[in-house]
C-alpha cells in the first residue's frame, strides 16, 4: 500500500494542494472575501466562505492552468448562484487567456434551495464551457469521489473536452435514488452499491468511452492524467457531433435491453468480471485496452 492520501478521501482544498506544483496556487475570492450564498441564511442553513467552490490559478508541471474544485460535503457540492458564478468566471477567464481549465467535480448538480438562480448559474457555466471549446481551450473534468457528477454537473462534465475518472467516481444525470423512486426498487436498487457503480462508476464509464481516462485513486495519478491532456483539445463540429450521436444510438441498440451490467462488461471484452472489479486502474486499463466501446 502506498502512503499517499486517497484522492476520494481528500477535501477540495487538499486535492488542489496535492495536484499542483508546490506553492503555485493562487486562490480567487479566497475565504476572507466572504462571497457567500445570500439564500441559505433565509432557510436557516449554514453558509460557507467559498460557497462550496475553490477557484484559482496554478501551475501543473510548469504549465499555467485555471482550477475549480467543488466541496462535496457542503450542501452536496451543489451549484448555487455564487458557486455557479465562480464556475462561469473561471471558465470565461480560461477562454479569454487561452489557459486550460481543470475541474475537480464533486456535486449532485443544481442547489435546489436556490431554485431558478441555481439553474441559470449552471446554464451560464455550460455556455462558458462552449466558449472555451470554440477557442480550442482545453476543459478537463476530474471525477474522483463517491458524490460524483450528477444532474446539471453531470451535463456540464460531459460538455467538457475530456473526463478523467477514478473507480470511485460516478457520472450520470439522475442519481440512483431518483431512478429508484421513479422506476421502483425492482428496476433499480439504489442500495446495491455494486449495481450503482457498475452502471455509473468510473470503470464502466471508461469501458463505455464516457470517461477518457481511468486514473488511480491518488493525486499523483490524477495529476499525471491531467498533464497528458493539457496540450490537447477535442474539436466540436457538426460532423463529430453526428458521429457521436451514431455511437450512442449503437450503444442503445446493443445494450438497451440489457438489465445485467456484468453482461455489458463481458460484451466489452472483460472475461473475468470479478477479477476486473478488484483490479487497479492500471490493470483495468490494460484489460480494457482492445475492447472499449469508443476508441478516441
Amino acid at each position: 500500500m502506498s502512503s499517499a492520501p486517497l484522492f476520494h478521501e481528500q477535501t477540495a482544498r487538499q486535492r488542489l494542494a496535492s495536484l499542483v506544483d508546490p506553492g503555485s496556487f493562487t486562490e480567487f475570492l479566497p475565504p476572507p472575501e466572504r462571497v457567500m450564498s445570500p439564500y441559505l441564511p433565509l432557510l436557516d442553513i449554514p453558509v460557507s466562505f467559498d460557497d462550496g467552490l475553490v477557484i484559482g490559478r496554478a501551475k501543473l508541471g510548469g504549465t499555467p492552468v485555471y482550477l475549480a474544485a467543488q466541496v462535496g460535503q457542503f450542501v452536496g457540492g451543489s451549484v448555487g448562484e455564487v458557486h455557479g458564478a465562480k464556475l462561469t468566471g473561471i471558465l470565461k477567464a480560461a477562454a479569454r487567456d487561452g489557459i486550460p481549465c481543470v475541474f475537480i467535480v464533486e456535486s449532485g448538480g443544481v442547489r435546489l434551495h436556490e431554485g431558478s438562480s441555481g439553474e441559470i448559474a449552471i446554464s451560464e457555466a455550460m455556455r462558458a464551457v462552449f466558449e472555451c471549446r470554440a477557442k480550442r481551450v482545453p476543459t478537463i473534468a476530474v471525477i474522483g469521489s463517491d458524490i460524483g457528477a450528477y444532474g446539471g454537473m453531470g451535463i456540464l462534465t460531459t460538455c467538457c473536452d475530456f473526463r478523467i475518472m477514478t473507480e470511485h467516481g460516478r457520472l450520470g444525470i439522475s442519481g440512483p435514488i431518483v431512478i429508484e423512486k421513479w422506476m421502483g426498487k425492482q428496476a433499480y436498487d439504489s442500495s446495491n452499491r455494486a449495481l450503482v457503480w457498475k452502471t455509473s462508476g468510473g470503470k464502466t464509464k471508461f469501458l463505455l468511452g464516457d470517461a477518457d481516462v481511468l486514473a488511480g485513486d491518488d493525486a499523483a495519478s490524477v495529476a499525471a492524467a491531467i498533464k497528458k491532456l493539457l496540450a490537447k483539445s477535442a474539436p466540436l463540429t457538426i460532423k463529430i457531433l453526428k458521429a457521436r450521436q451514431q455511437e450512442l444510438e449503437k450503444r442503445l441498440k446493443t445494450f438497451g435491453e440489457t438489465s445485467d451490467p456484468d453482461a455489458i462488461w463481458k460484451a466489452l471484452g472483460i472475461r473475468n468480471v470479478a477479477e476486473a472489479s478488484l483490479a487497479s486502474a492500471t490493470e483495468f486499463v490494460a484489460l480494457a485496452k482492445k475492447n472499449r466501446f469508443i476508441n478516441h
Binding site: T11, R13, P30, D44, P46, S48, V71, F74
Partner: protein, 106 residues
C-alpha cells in the same frame, strides 16, 4: 441558527510573514469551518464569531473557545466559525488545525 460574538484574552500570536489567514474544516454534517484572520488592532485578544445550525449550546462554545484562547497564543486573531453540528472535540481539533496551518511556513 445560533449566532453570537465573544472576545477572549490571549497571548499575542507571532503572525508569520506573508500570512493573512488560515482555514480548517468544511461545512458538512457534524463538521465546521474555522477561519483565522489577522486582527492587528487587538494584539492580546481573540475575537470570535460563531454561526451554528444547532441552537442552545452557547455555553459549550464559550468553554471550548475560552480553553483554546488560554492554551494557545492566538491574540491578534479574528476567528469566524460556520458550524453544522460539530461536537466540542471536533471544534477543538479544527481550531488547532487552523492554528497549525497558520504556523506552517508556505
Amino acid at each position: 441558527m445560533e449566532k453570537f460574538e465573544k472576545t477572549f484574552p490571549s497571548k499575542p500570536l507571532a503572525w508569520p510573514r506573508g500570512k493573512q489567514w488560515a482555514l480548517a474544516g468544511v461545512v458538512g454534517s457534524g463538521n465546521l469551518e474555522v477561519l483565522f484572520e489577522r486582527n492587528a488592532k487587538k494584539p492580546d485578544k481573540m475575537d470570535c464569531r460563531v454561526e451554528s445550525s444547532i441552537p442552545g449550546y452557547k455555553g459549550s462554545w464559550l468553554a471550548a473557545l475560552g480553553d483554546f484562547a488560554a492554551n494557545y497564543p492566538v491574540g491578534g486573531t479574528k476567528v469566524t466559525i460556520h458550524d453544522q453540528g460539530a461536537d466540542p472535540i471536533v471544534v477543538t481539533f479544527r481550531l488547532r488545525q487552523a492554528y497549525d496551518h497558520l504556523k506552517k511556513t508556505p
